[in-house]
């Protein structure tokens, strides 16, 4: 049996991550091209919303990624707290900026979709406000990490923040059921068929996978930078630099 614990050491993970980045980046590029092709050239015009609905192909994937990345980040934070593994905390901090980016894009594309369909860029309803709170949680995580000089203390404080913030994820997800919101209900559910045309759904799903591959590639690339920054006093880091130069 492979010794998986071995990969929890930054030294062995650094080259492994380096090998995985191009594959995920390539997958992201191909999936994006396919997804955009379906979204703009195969999917028909929406009967009610006209062409404005095409924002869905980035709005829904960005929103899902913003929530999913938070769960993964909190998962790494929990592992880091429980097992005291440095790499887990590094993974958590490598995910935060990408999660913040997708939370921002979710709000941005949502605003530009809301204007033509609802007549307003922004309302303080449950779905939009809880997504804004998610963006602030990511920003708070990064600010807290930057504010504490001792990296290991920063890791622990941020892990606690990430875990407390998890409570916001189900609030975002179920907000459209729990409260009377302007935001429409879930377009896709595990318990019933998606409430949209199959072609539109296919395009959206391809874009979800594209953003997924993108997030993995960027997070792995960022964790490599973090490893080099933090392990700069270790001799192996210098060997890595020479090998990679």
């Amino acid at each position: 049996m492979a010794n998986w614990y071995r990969f929890s050491s930054p030294q062995t993970f650094y080259p492994l991550a380096g090998k995985m980045v191009p594959w995920f980046a390539g997958a992201a590029a191909i999936l994006t091209l396919v997804g955009l092709y379906i979204g703009f050239f195969v999917a028909p015009t929406d009967a009610q919303q006209g062409e404005s609905y095409r924002i869905i192909f980035i709005h829904v994937p960005a929103s899902w990624m913003s929530m999913f990345i938070y769960l993964v980040m909190a998962g790494w934070a929990a592992i880091g707290l429980g097992f005291n593994t440095r790499l887990s905390h590094m993974m958590a901090s490598a995910l935060a900026p990408t999660g913040a980016l997708f939370a921002f894009l979710s709000l941005w594309t949502g605003a530009l979709w809301g204007k033509p369909t609802w007549g307003t860029y922004w309302v303080w309803d449950a779905r939009l406000t809880s997504e804004l709170v998610l963006l602030f949680l990511y920003i708070g995580y990064m600010a807290l990490h930057a504010a504490i000089d001792d990296t290991r203390r920063a890791d622990k404080a941020c892990a606690v923040l990430a875990l407390v913030g998890v409570v916001n994820i189900p609030i975002i997800y179920f907000s459209v059921q729990w409260w009377n919101t302007l935001h429409q209900g879930a377009s896709v559910s595990v318990t019933r068929a998606p409430s949209m045309a199959a072609v539109m759904f296919a395009g959206m799903l391809v874009m979800v996978f594209a953003f997924w591959a993108y997030s993995i590639a960027v997070a792995l690339a960022r964790v490599r930078a973090i490893i080099l920054e933090r392990e700069r006093h270790a001799a192996w880091a210098h060997d890595l630099r020479e090998a990679a130069a």
Binding site: F40, E51, S52, L101, V218, A221, A225, L228, E229, R241
Partner: protein, 64 residues
């Protein structure tokens, strides 16, 4: 395909500012982020190199 011409495609049925505003900003962010990450790793590598140089100098001075 649902577009009669390129102009019709870019007009997006009158929703051009909303659709292209969404896609444009998304594309910008997803292109910039990997470049920022690459710059960060290069800076980290350069700092390692500088540290090595400093380490070697102190070692040489100690030996001399």
């Amino acid at each position: 395909m649902s577009w009669a011409s390129a102009a019709e495609f870019f007009a997006m049925g009158g929703y051009a500012p909303y659709v292209w505003g969404s896609y444009g900003v998304t594309a910008f962010c997803l292109i910039i982020e990997p470049l920022v990450v690459r710059a960060r790793r290069r800076a980290a590598r350069a700092r390692l190199k500088a540290l090595e140089g400093a380490g070697r100098r102190t070692a040489n001075e100690a030996a001399a």
